[in-house]
């Protein structure tokens, strides 16, 4: 098996074996259940779709899963020291980071874009489903690269990620409108809005900006993660 194949297999097995990850499995189901309940209720989707798709899908399900997966693929191994097994091989650090990132994006996309698509179809149409899935994918790329980089840079990646999600995206965006230009959630919603072209999802940013900002963020965060992993130091020991 190739180096990338071995790294990917170890990463997936490690990720799926962590209890923290399994705890999040109900989240996508919650989203689909909320969409189904809304649909069955007979109330017009324009009155509740935003609450389900944006407030639950883009604001909770997507970032939480991306956070657990993004900080888990590499950060957990750095935290418990098992990464030393891989780090004491001549595999280039760029290969390690990119493989872990690919696994993180793949798993997060499967766990978010898929249920978002299903929810979109239930709420309105296949087109809405596709729009939500594409938006979720863009959000996945941005969130996972950011959180993976955080997990290499800091020993407290989950805390910082939660701070970003709750304080920056949850609170500051509503108070200071300029903050939305640096909000991953707004990137995802903007792209969904553009692709779905419906009143049920309304973004405040241009989709072109959202895609470009995501690309810039992904490249910068990945470069940072590779550089920091190259200078990775085991924890301080005095033994």
């Amino acid at each position: 098996m190739s180096v990338v194949g071995v790294l990917a297999r170890i990463t997936i097995r490690g990720l799926l074996g962590r209890r923290r990850f399994l705890l999040l499995l109900p989240l996508p189901l919650l989203l689909i259940a909320a969409a189904t309940i809304g649909r069955i209720s007979g109330v017009d989707p324009s009155r509740w779709a935003d609450a389900v798709l944006s407030q639950v899908g883009f604001a909770v399900v997507l970032p939480l899963i991306a956070m657990i997966v993004g900080t888990g693929v590499l950060g957990s191994e750095l935290e418990d020291g098992s990464a030393v097994t891989v780090l004491t091989t001549p595999v280039p650090r760029g290969t390690i980071v990119l493989t872990k990132l690919a696994v993180a994006i793949g798993v997060t996309t499967a766990a978010t874009a898929l249920p978002m698509f299903v929810a979109g179809v239930i709420v309105d149409s296949v087109r809405l489903g596709v729009g939500l899935a594409v938006g979720a994918f863009v959000g996945t790329v941005a969130y996972t690269t950011l959180f993976l980089a955080l997990s290499v840079v800091s020993r407290r990646p989950v805390l910082i990620a939660l701070g970003y999600l709750v304080i920056w995206e949850g609170t500051l965006v509503t108070v200071l409108s300029g903050v939305r230009w640096l909000s991953i959630r707004q990137f995802a919603v903007a792209v969904s809005d553009r692709v779905a072209s419906t009143e049920l999802v309304t973004g405040t940013l241009s989709s072109l900006y959202a895609v470009l900002a995501t690309a810039v963020l992904a490249v910068a965060a990945t470069t940072l993660a590779i550089d920091r992993l190259s200078a990775y130091s085991v924890r301080g020991e005095t033994g």
Binding site: V6, P90, S230
Partner: protein
């Protein structure tokens, strides 16, 4: 403090250093874990001896490129080890405290490591490494179910799978039973004889003496001594020591002690005696009978040079 270096006069003494540590220090905040160490490690087995907290693990991490020196540099075959993953093609590391992928079986772990080293036949290399550490049928069980000794052997197999020229091991005998310990000692000796460079840390003098001819002694982050194991032991037991004694009759005890061959000087320093000896072990053995013969009761025996004493006495305790 400069480290006493004992000339290595063995006929098979290492011809050239593979691992060069040049003026390396590493501190964590205000704590200096490794303090201005310079050493050369050549082929064969070398023991890194020191009490817990001496900085052995930090030094091994520095040598393995897993820590950046705060000062100085470390070279492996003339290439810097820091930020240089290429060194791992010829270096294997067995760490004591880090976890490993517990959800893999030892065979999967070693085979994955072989694949990451891009070995042409990872499966065969893994089988060979597992056979070397004697994991046997347990190799197909998940590492998480292993005892500490078995886990250690799985780590050794993973570190050996690419047949590295240099092998670094941090307290490799920890948690092993006597049989496993002996097997690993033999394995390290075979590797040393085959021209590999093996460096392992330990806090037990006997362990180091059994496996390696060459010893580096670390105390409080510094290199305290280096050289042949017999000379190191002599250095530890026969260096000048001072003791403060208190007894029922200091004057009579002083007279009695002056007759001992191991005692080089006695001073009456109220409230007791200051005794100088050149042989710690011989003095320790001779003191009680000498006091008894003089009819003196001993109240207190304290090493006066406390800083290094605790370490050396520790090493000597281990040797008896």
């Amino acid at each position: 403090m400069s480290a006493p270096t004992v000339p290595d006069t063995r006929p098979d003494a290492p011809a050239r250093a593979v691992l060069e540590v040049r003026g390396v220090s590493r501190w964590f905040g205000n704590v200096v874990a490794v303090n201005d160490i310079t050493m050369s490690i050549g082929t064969g087995v070398t023991g890194l001896l020191g009490p817990n907290g001496a900085g052995k693990t930090t030094l091994l991490h520095l040598m393995a490129g897993l820590l950046q020196p705060s000062r100085g540099e470390i070279l492996l075959s003339d290439a810097p080890v820091w930020r240089n993953p290429a060194i791992y093609a010829s270096l294997g590391l067995v760490v004591d405290r880090e976890d490993t992928y517990g959800f893999l079986s030892a065979r999967e772990l070693v085979e994955a490591t072989a694949a990451l080293h891009k070995l042409p036949h990872p499966r065969a290399a893994a089988d060979r490494a597992i056979a070397m550490v004697g994991l046997g049928s347990a190799a197909d069980r998940r590492v998480a179910t292993y005892s500490k000794g078995m886990r250690q052997r799985a780590r050794v197999a993973a570190a050996l799978v690419h047949d590295p020229a240099v092998l670094l091991l941090d307290e490799p005998f920890n948690g092993m039973d006597p049989r496993q310990r002996l097997d690993l000692m033999e394995l390290l000796q075979r590797m040393g004889e085959a021209g590999r460079t093996v460096l392992f840390s330990s806090h037990i003098l006997e362990e180091v003496e059994q496996v390696s001819q060459s010893i580096q002694v670390m105390v409080a982050g510094r290199l305290a001594a280096s050289g042949d194991h017999r000379a190191i032991r002599r250095l530890m037991t026969q260096r000048p020591h001072e003791f403060r004694l208190a007894s029922s009759d200091d004057r009579a005890l002083g007279v009695a002690l002056l007759r001992l061959e191991s005692v080089t000087g006695v001073e009456l320093e109220p409230p007791g005696l200051l005794v100088r000896t050149r042989d710690y072990g011989a003095f320790a053995r001779a003191l009680p009978p000498a006091a008894r013969a003089a009819g003196v009761r001993l109240y207190q025996v304290l090493p006066a040079d406390e800083s290094l004493e605790s370490v050396f006495s520790y090493l000597i305790e281990g040797g008896q």
